[in-house]
């Protein structure tokens, strides 16, 4: 079997598996988020938290609950890291310094999982499992909750109520994330992922050298890292580490896990608005963009253009043998398309255009299929913008799912869309204006790409890096922390506000002038709008970085 055939089969098998789970798993998630029965454990949690699960919230209360929860989470995580030397299983590590702890606390609460640190030499086991990994679950549940609340905005009418944040958070965590993680962690262990509380084993190697083999509760964290599109590795080299991702089939499983929820959420959307075909249309937009991107990344990496890849004979720098070029490229595309940011190969050493593709994936706004929840609400907002643009072009009434897209809705959607590009471009410019770009490892256009990648990754809550750049400085940790915070919560507030405004409307019956939003025409238009918006926003920056390097 040739390298290309194997790579293509790898992608097709992932597609087949995602198609197979889309409906049953989407239906399951639909029942979770729309069910009203509570298990005994859930009722216990509501009692402990002190909330009434039957009470619904307006968008404002929903947003304030979410923000309060996230604020408390940041503070808790910050304190955890600052005090880790006093806690168990710290492995003798020092407390994390202030700017680093701020950055990491924000990073994990915002589902970004940008990492300035090396896990194996910075974080004790307790901080990893009871601090960071907890946020892997909760930040993922928050993302899905916001998506569900936005869809309720479309599905409901003449009401201010969007559900209950605490109920959504609890049900999503306990009924969706946790059971799958238990299964996935066990399967990963069977593959060879480690799961222990050991501080490591010192061994004397065959030639008499020393090696300290690290331990840790890795498999349990790995499962949610992928499933929740978080991406924060237990170890510095993330999913390239054989203890996190031991074999080529665990690699397949990890890619599947990170695509599973984002690609099944459109089904939830379809079910909730009572028209499955609307969900298929959204899934089709995601699939078209994702397949195009995965294909191009593979083509660029397998072609191996550039001086060093040509000298080597393959783009193999920063890639492990068991994944080879193609499966590494597929992982890289999937991780940047989903706002995961886990890596099984090092993007900094990718070919100029291959690495550029990964930047573009994030610049798409993480909607193809995007992070858990974030991808769906991001894409629904692009659909709203598309409906508006289409209305302007052909004189149709801007409506989506029976809701009028009036000036308030379009303002919220536009604000949502503008935040990340503003953060990315202003941040990159600020790094150069203040000379902080000098911490880049590479020089020339590739140095610019490293800076651009850092801000793109942080602002879009991805978390992967062109990792040559040194970001463990007060300036970088603070700046990227702000980008992650604003890039996560401002869009969430606008999405919830949009949900509130849609829910209050009464449904408008479809008329002659209504643009059908389930047809291929609409799918093509959303794809077009997404690509054009990204191209218009980022082409100049891309021209100075990856395009200058690769062309």
């Amino acid at each position: 079997m040739t390298v290309t055939t194997a790579g293509v089969l790898f992608i097709l098998s992932l597609v087949a598996a995602l198609v197979a789970v889309h409906k049953p798993f989407g239906d399951y998630m639909y029942r979770v988020v729309s069910g009203t029965g509570h298990s005994r454990v859930e009722r216990g949690i509501y009692r402990l938290v002190g909330v009434n699960p039957a009470a619904e919230q307006t968008w404002g209360v929903y947003a304030r609950s979410l923000l309060a929860f996230s604020a408390v989470s940041v503070l808790f995580l910050y304190a955890f890291m600052r005090l880790q030397n006093h806690l168990w299983l710290s492995l003798g590590f020092d407390p994390v310094m202030t700017h680093g702890a701020w950055n990491t606390a924000v990073s994990f609460v915002t589902n970004t999982n940008w990492q300035w640190y090396s896990g194996e030499s910075t974080m004790g086991h307790l901080v990893q499992m009871a601090g960071l990994a907890v946020q892997n679950f909760l930040s993922a549940a928050v993302g899905i909750a916001v998506a569900v609340a936005l869809v309720r905005g479309f599905a409901r009418s003449r009401t201010g109520e969007l559900g209950n944040f605490w109920v959504d958070l609890t049900r999503i965590t306990l009924r969706i994330l946790l059971p799958i993680c238990v299964l996935a962690a066990i399967v990963l262990m069977i593959g060879g992922a480690v799961q222990n509380l050991s501080g490591g084993t010192d061994v004397s190697t065959l030639t008499g050298g020393g090696q300290h083999l690290t331990g840790g509760p890795v498999a349990s964290q790995e499962a949610i890292k992928d499933l929740g599109t978080n991406g924060g590795g237990f170890y510095n080299v993330n999913s390239a580490h054989p203890f996190e991702n031991p074999t080529s089939w665990t690699n397949w499983l990890e890619i599947f896990l990170l695509l599973m929820i984002p690609f099944s959420l459109p089904r939830v959307f379809g079910r909730m608005v009572g028209q499955n075909r609307q969900g298929y249309a959204i899934a089709a937009v995601m699939a078209i963009l994702a397949l195009a991107s995965i294909t191009l990344t593979n083509v660029f990496e397998l072609a191996g253009n550039g001086t060093v890849p040509q000298a080597v004979g393959a783009a193999l720098e920063g890639k492990d043998v068991r994944f080879d070029v193609s499966n590494s490229a597929t992982f890289a595309a999937a991780t940047t398309l989903t706002s995961t940011g886990a890596v099984n190969s090092f993007h900094d050493s990718y070919t100029a255009l291959g690495g550029g593709m990964l930047l573009v994936n994030m610049m798409l706004g993480e909607v193809a299929p995007g992070g858990v929840g974030a991808g769906l609400y991001g894409l629904l907002i692009l659909a709203v913008i598309t409906v508006f643009v289409a209305g302007l072009m052909v004189g149709r009434t801007p409506e989506y799912l029976g809701k009028k897209i009036s000036s308030r809705e379009i303002k919220l959607a536009s604000l949502y869309f503008l935040i990340t590009p503003a953060l990315v471009l202003a941040g990159t410019a600020a790094a150069f204006a203040t000379g902080n770009n000098s911490t880049a490892l590479n020089v020339g256009p590739h140095g610019l790409s490293e800076v651009l990648y850092a801000f793109t990754s942080a602002s879009n809550n991805n978390g992967s890096a062109f990792a040559g750049i040194t970001v463990n400085t007060p300036w970088w940790n603070t700046a990227l922390g702000l980008c992650m915070l604003l890039g996560r919560f401002l869009p969430i507030v606008f999405a919830l506000a949009l949900a509130g405004s849609l829910a209050r409307q009464k449904p408008t019956p479809a008329s002659e002038g209504t643009l059908p939003t389930h047809r291929p025409l609409f799918v093509g238009m959303v794809v077009g709008v997404t690509v054009v918006l990204v191209a218009l926003t980022f082409l100049p920056a891309l021209a100075l970085g990856p395009l200058a390097e690769g062309l």
């Binding site: 194997a6 499992m129 509760p217 004979g313 499966n327």
Partner: protein, 293 residues
């Protein structure tokens, strides 16, 4: 007493966080640790450690350096890939090189300790070293015969245009002889320490040379892995090492080749990943079957 709403909200948030921390941060991972104690799974959960005569010598998932104290390859062992993890295969400092595809100019400081090799030069020098160790052709495209990146800084009269006025082989420091004597009729000079020829206006031009398009030294032998702990090499890299290992151990190369194929894993399910040779397991088997004389 009723708390103000904003405070009640934060208290609810704090309580929720604590409940979930216990559930997801303690119960879940510790339950998984317990599952990892199940016989059959415990070896894997503990890191797939391998022992020889009761002494733990490593993990079958984690690569090691098979070098002596000075970092030179021990010829009786199959060699792993280059590693950017610490001083090589250090699990406490895992890393990739993160150098980009156009990292082709060495920094050439007046103090040699401050100089760094470009990725291209690293590739070229590894290729040369492996070629010499294993008795194969170590030449590669864009590499000089002395094992650095074949890169010229070409100065034109008018910046980017006009006739060529001066040419420097940027990665070859005097007294090394440049890999080409002249370029477009202009004699090529070796580089002088302390100069940044790119900043001085030279156009950086890599030279392909006449090395075979498919070099004898395989790609994985000259590139650092993602993890810095890659336990595998490609079957091609193992193949060029067979004769050396056989010679060192006084064994029949065919027998060594058989051992290599026994430690080669194909693609999972026929299409996932790439065929790979586990170096530590192979070397352990070698010590067992063909102890060094």
């Amino acid at each position: 007493m009723r708390l103000p709403t904003w405070l009640a909200q934060h208290l609810a948030a704090l309580r929720a966080l604590l409940v979930f921390t216990v559930l997801l941060g303690l119960a879940y991972p510790l339950a998984m640790v317990a599952v990892g104690r199940v016989p059959g799974l415990d070896g894997k959960a503990d890191g797939s450690l391998v022992s020889v005569d009761g002494r733990t010598v490593g993990s079958s998932l984690i690569g090691q350096s098979f070098t002596d104290a000075d970092g030179n390859p021990v010829p009786r062992y199959f060699q792993s890939r280059p590693s950017a993890a610490g001083d090589g295969y250090d699990p406490t400092s895992t890393s990739a090189s993160n150098l980009g595809p156009e990292d082709i100019v060495d920094t050439n400081a007046t103090n040699p300790d401050d100089s760094t090799q470009s990725l291209l030069t690293q590739v070229c020098s590894r290729s040369k070293a492996v070629g010499e160790l294993d008795g194969v052709d170590g030449r590669r495209p864009y590499c000089t015969p002395d094992g650095v990146g074949a890169v010229l800084a070409v100065f034109h009269r008018d910046g980017l245009t006009g006739p060529v006025t001066r040419v420097v082989s940027v990665n070859q420091t005097a007294p090394a002889a440049p890999f080409v004597s002249s370029y477009q009729g202009v004699p090529v000079e070796p580089a002088q320490p302390g100069h940044d020829y790119r900043a001085e206006g030279g156009l950086i031009t890599p030279i392909r040379g006449d090395a075979p398009a498919i070099p004898a030294v395989p790609a994985d032998a000259v590139t650092a892995s993602a993890s810095g702990l890659d336990p595998h090499i490609s079957p091609a890299y193992a193949a060029i090492q067979v004769n050396r290992v056989a010679r060192e151990r006084g064994a029949d190369p065919a027998a060594i080749r058989r051992l290599v194929s026994e430690h080669t894993t194909g693609r999972a399910l026929g299409f996932m990943g790439a065929p790979a040779v586990n170096v530590l397991e192979l070397n352990l088997a070698l010590d067992q079957e063909f102890p060094a004389r």
